[in-house]
Symmetry: C2
Subunit: 243 residues, 2 copies
Amino acid sequence: MTGAVIIAGLGPGDAAKVTPEVAAALDQATDVVGYIPYVARVAPRPGLTLHPSDNRVELDRATHALEMAAKGARVVVVSSGDPGVFAMASAVFEALEARPDLAHVPITVLPGITAMLAAAAAAGAPLGHDFCAINLSDNLKPFALVERRLRLAAEADFAMAFYNPRSKSRPHQFARVLEILRECCDPARLITFARAVSTPEQHLRTVALAEATEDMADMRTVVLVGNSATRRIGPYVYTPRSA
Amino acid sequence: MTGAVIIAGLGPGDAAKVTPEVAAALDQATDVVGYIPYVARVAPRPGLTLHPSDNRVELDRATHALEMAAKGARVVVVSSGDPGVFAMASAVFEALEARPDLAHVPITVLPGITAMLAAAAAAGAPLGHDFCAINLSDNLKPFALVERRLRLAAEADFAMAFYNPRSKSRPHQFARVLEILRECCDPARLITFARAVSTPEQHLRTVALAEATEDMADMRTVVLVGNSATRRIGPYVYTPRSA
């Protein structure tokens, strides 16, 4: 039997946003590995072993997936959203680099609807022109690099999407992010806080930068910052194509 | 009958990458509008009128969709990829701004798998850390703004995705983009040219910046530029989570 690792994106939460190819990969899997709440989204069935694991053990999880596949298992590594955006795809390739003995395992990445694009769709089209995506977590990089990228992104007048804006272990950094934005952008700049997008708990709130406060974001929030031309039209927020 | 406009992303080409909610919206549509090759991806059926239109008439098409919905039609505006990324969502809101008489039409945006994320998945995980998306077309903005964003994105060490890198009417600008990248980045910087991703004509090619030439991109290509840490591992290209 030939094993394989398939790194699949489950989308932001709603089953109607899971692509058919991801659903088919899950149907054919022998093993599913991933962070506990994402594995919980996969229905149990005979012949499928679920391997939920804790946060921050991405490399161990990735190595485990490669090892099982080397023994013939058809392993699906699940991520929320898209696995290539601040998720498991890079972790699997990092694990592979450390284990040349597993280089023969076939790896496929199946894209998913990433949180920022689901949030943008729910808000209107705030990422409708040039934009950037920044992971605000400093678990794996210095916060100084986050600050530097924020300032340059503002100077470039990119719309911005922030992943992992705030966590229990980093309660104050998002306040610093808002400070930096206030130094670089007009107070009227629009910010959308999109929590639990596409789930029953979805909550969207758009405010001017001057009114934004750090408690508007939590671990389940993706934050979208407009560019200088982003505006409201009725209940929608959008960025025109010309700016 | 209550009309509505649904702006839906068809993904990059493969039917297995169309989300169930987009498929359901197409099943319930009375009218589908969009650029000719995208409307061609929708199966005709009794009760559905297809309205294919030419490129560069996005505002006319958007207004037409809003007008039909105001008369009770259930109109799906189709985009390739994700409608919020350099596609029809912003055009519909621009059209709405010009037509306050149509402000009552309900508008929903359904996300799709955008080209850069399908291309990244096919290559490995080159957008696995902070990245930006830039539309290289100067149809609607001055090329000087493209140049400025490119330089700042390189300074920020973002991975980058370029949409619309090259067209018949702009054959030489992509050569200029490569020149700018060569001024800002190491010659070993990896660039992936991903053509017709997820279709039978898919072709991926990754080269060092020093070897990249303008003819490697065409209208159907999305270009992914790694950051300074992006590397190859076996047949894959990926950006580590720490850079």
